[in-house]
């Protein structure tokens, strides 16, 4: 008698159960797709901010894009982690004056392709470095590509390492004895 009273409730629950399981499976799949889009968006932003911070000569912002064990390798040597990278950049390039506006050059970042694999990712992108010509026009001075290894650190995507390859003029980023960048760009780009 008592059992019979609860039977409709139990029946309704049993009938709803497979629906719940399918629903949560679909939600989990959707959640994964949304996460993938959010990851890609955040990684693209880091690729853009890398150039923006260099243009603004904001080396604290620039260094914050690197992971705790993120490695910077280039013409100034090698540094690991944000604090060491910032110190190295400021030592070699100096701190900009307050209210600095860069009217001489900028990075154009494009053709970004991101591959996310769980908590690591690879991003490949192209850059063009524009400088001001003698007649005050934007002049494409360097063209190249970046290959970045990313890692998710406390929910934020950070650069583990970046290899910069020159396309025009050609510079093999994997060659430890990199030829120096054009003399005209000394002091204004990451060597």
């Amino acid at each position: 008698m008592k059992f019979a009273r609860y039977l409709p409730v139990l029946l309704a629950f049993a009938l709803a159960l497979p629906g719940c399981v399918t629903q949560s499976g679909a939600t989990a799949a959707l959640e994964k797709r949304v996460q993938q889009l959010e990851d890609e968006k955040q990684i693209r932003e880091v690729v853009i901010r890398y150039g923006e911070y260099l243009d603004a000569r904001d080396y604290a912002g620039y260094a914050s894009l690197f992971a705790r064990d993120g490695v910077w390798t280039g013409g100034f040597g090698s540094a690991t982690g944000p604090a060491a990278i910032q110190a190295m950049m400021e030592k070699n390039l100096g701190k900009p004056e307050a209210g600095f506006i860069n009217k001489q050059n900028f990075h154009l970042d494009t053709t970004v392709v991101v591959e996310v694999n769980g908590d690591t990712a690879t991003a490949r992108s192209r850059y063009m470095f524009f400088t001001t010509s003698a007649d005050s026009r934007p002049s494409p001075t360097l063209a190249g590509r970046y290959v970045d290894q990313f890692v998710r650190e406390n929910g934020q995507w950070k650069i583990k390492n970046r290899t910069s390859h020159g396309v025009i003029p050609y510079r093999d980023g994997n060659n430890p004895n990199l030829p120096p960048p054009p003399a005209a760009l000394k002091g204004i780009i990451k060597p």
């Binding site: 949304v34 968006k41 600095f100 009217k103 900028f106 026009r137």
Partner: protein, 168 residues
């Protein structure tokens, strides 16, 4: 009996209350809210691209419609307010330069887009290069950055303010 229920309710409230408050502050955004943010971001990127497309097509009415009623365009040429003034000013600017940059002989290259969303408002920062023809070759004539304040009006994102600035 009633006293017991009241005591129990107080007890539950005592323990569950702070837990509910804590849960409310750390609850991750819903899937729907996350998708809305992706939608907003894509709609704003589209708005930023439409800006260049409308100017390159010399469609000044479509261009002006990208701004709110109190929208402002500000650049080296001056500061213009509201769709009507913005439309007339851009038309005048491009008509005056028609000999140097005729329609179909230039384009805006728009890139480096960073968007910050705050509900129905947003800010965006991006880069532009204005290419025109030098004989048979495209030549970068002007480069700079845009700083935008955007607002959602009737479900559509619009420019409330666009500043065209030097690079950096």
């Amino acid at each position: 009996m009633t006293r017991w229920v009241a005591a129990l309710a107080t007890l539950i409230g005592f323990f569950a209350g702070p837990a509910l408050v804590a849960a409310a502050t750390v609850t991750p955004p819903s899937l729907e809210a996350r998708i809305q943010r992706i939608d907003d971001r894509m709609a704003i990127e589209q708005l930023l691209m439409e800006y260049g497309r409308a100017l390159d097509n010399r469609d000044f009415a479509a261009f002006a419609a990208l701004f709110t009623e109190d929208g402002e365009w500000m650049g080296a040429q001056g500061s213009y307010h509201g769709p009507k003034e913005i439309q007339e000013s851009m038309e005048k600017m491009f008509t005056a330069a028609a000999a140097d940059i005729p329609k179909g002989k230039n384009f805006h290259l728009l890139t480096n887009v960073i968007i910050e969303l705050q509900g129905d408002r947003a800010t965006a920062s991006s880069k532009f290069i204005f290419y025109k023809m030098n004989g048979a070759k495209p030549e970068a004539a002007v480069a700079g950055r845009y700083e935008d304040r955007l607002v959602r009006v009737g479900g559509a994102w619009k420019f409330q303010q666009r500043l065209a600035l030097p690079p950096g």
